[in-house]
Symmetry: C2
Subunit: 328 residues, 2 copies
């Protein structure tokens, strides 16, 4: 494919970072955002003040809030929060989009659908790949070495996308486990909230590493019950993304957990940010999925109780630590 012209749908931190990356490779980039006012600011200030502050956006990147401007692109990169994905894609139905790379990480509440399922449902017969991995946007935007996985059931399309995204500082691996890559990217946010709660309670890296390890076990278990491959969860889009999300000071999901560990309620925390914290809704979806597939997810269950039932976070950790002793 030629891929001369690439559309980015979504003006968050990660969409903007990918716009920068692809622009640096010589592609013609048009980035679309839903709010005309904010798009005008992006275009004039050449900085995404809310979601990627401090990073200069070159003149060559086009910004628009007009769907017509996204006609006839070679590739569409979708970078919209999961709970808004359906609403946004409805606007793009008329465009006959041929190829999509999804950056969206989450599971739709209610339908329990993965991003690629929503894309297929709304856009029909398109090639879809999911790009995921340990990639905090402001690090990638500053040229910090980053690795990701690009998954598609169409392995030729995955390889084409690999060519599009690959740079010396952005290493892309391919995978054919679309289900596993999407579930890993979504479910890791629950565990990152748990890791943040541990930070907020003043616990150390021992506790966080235990949460990360046992958390990976339970999200892998759910993934496998849903048809994903175990290996994917041990890879960049599973363990890798989980690790960076649990470690980074800039991860919103970890941050939200930390605030809750310090004693705030979910409402307090969400009221103070314009950011979408994917893990909050994903926790809800994952609890439903764990029941549906009859998979034990003790950490996810406790996080659900902490977020939605105002369970005391310290009690939640103690209960996890004092389950009956057993084999690993």
């Amino acid at each position: 494919m030629s891929n001369k012209d690439i559309a980015i749908i979504g003006d968050g931190g990660w969409g903007t970072t990918i716009a920068l990356l692809l622009h640096s490779k010589g592609y013609n980039i048009t980035l679309w955002g839903a709010f005309n006012n904010y798009i005008k600011i992006l275009s004039s200030k050449r900085e995404n003040l809310k979601f990627l502050p401090g990073v200069k956006l070159p003149e060559g990147i086009n910004f628009t809030a007009d769907i017509e401007d996204l006609k006839n692109k070679d590739l569409y990169v979708v970078a919209v929060p999961s709970q808004y994905l359906r609403g946004v894609l409805k606007k793009f139905r008329a465009l006959s989009i041929p190829r999509v790379v999804s950056l969206t990480k989450g599971i739709e509440v209610g339908s329990l659908k993965r991003p690629s399922e929503i894309i297929s449902e709304l856009l029909g017969n398109v090639s879809i790949a999911s790009l995921s991995g340990p990639s905090i946007s402001n690090e990638t935007a500053r040229g910090i070495p980053t690795t990701v996985t690009i998954a598609s059931t169409d392995s030729e399309f995955a390889r084409e996308c690999q060519d599009v995204f690959l740079t010396e500082r952005f290493r892309a691996y391919t995978s054919n486990d679309l289900v596993g890559v999407e579930l890993g990217g979504a479910l890791k946010n629950i565990i990152a909230i748990a890791a943040g709660i541990s930070d907020g309670l003043g616990f150390g890296t021992n506790t966080k590493a235990a949460i990360l390890t046992r958390g990976l076990v339970e999200i892998t278990r759910l993934g496998m019950a849903m048809g994903a491959s175990k290996e994917t969860f041990s890879g960049l889009s599973g363990l890798g993304d989980l690790a960076t999300t649990c470690m980074s000071r800039d991860s919103r999901n970890r941050w939200l957990g930390e605030e809750i560990g310090k004693g705030k309620t979910l409402k307090d925390v969400l009221g103070n940010t314009e950011m979408v914290v994917e893990g909050v809704m994903t926790t809800k979806s994952a609890c439903e999925l764990s029941k549906k597939h009859d998979v034990e997810m003790p950490i996810t269950e406790k996080i659900y109780e902490v977020l939605y039932r105002e369970k005391n976070p310290r009690d939640a950790v103690r209960e996890l630590m004092t389950r009956s002793p057993k084999g690993e």
Copy 2:
């Protein structure tokens, strides 16, 4: 077993922490160290100033440098750096030790033996378990929730040890994969050095998460070639220990890597610490093992070149990032 009287062999940070933990459970603890002068300080100051500063050691814990004082204990906990293990155990041969829990993490240079193999070689027919997991000593000593795995080929002995160590803040799982638990505990230190180098170069959590993920893949590969189970490497003594070692400001192996990433040589760094940094020697052993078992270990190989051949760390990372693109 009664386990009324427990001997701790080794006066480092982790041996001291385990002494504290077991003392809090009501066991009679005698901690042995090789240097009489330092043992006298431990005993009088009631603080391990070099290796566990700031933590009060109760009067009930006995300190000794006399091997005779370790006669007829019910359980022996060995907490000696791997390269000194053989030398220390030679002194204890006459004691007819029945049961050993090893806390030692490393692979002996030259013989390429695991701690339990050295213990068997020197002490003959003893029950052996290895205790390992994400457990930075000064966190565990301060009561931070910690989880570990206790592995033995004798599953009844593993369960007995679980009873001995378990507290509300120290959760112990059992395993029968002694090989996997020992190799995970040793090999993770190489990857932690790599993670530290990334920190020292000013890279972010994206890079560190990638190193952790790809590092786990290669140490798992070697472990499996040596008879370990893959699952063990995804557990607390593999991934868990790796994660805490890569994250913690207090991990010596990560710290050594960070200093090297900032431009120091191995000699500079080791000259400035009394601590044993296990990963340095383990890197050497692992390179030999990877050749012996014909297993590809690209990160380990680069760390070897950085540590022992003065390869530039930035070049090492760039070479890892620009290997030919491929499937994950």
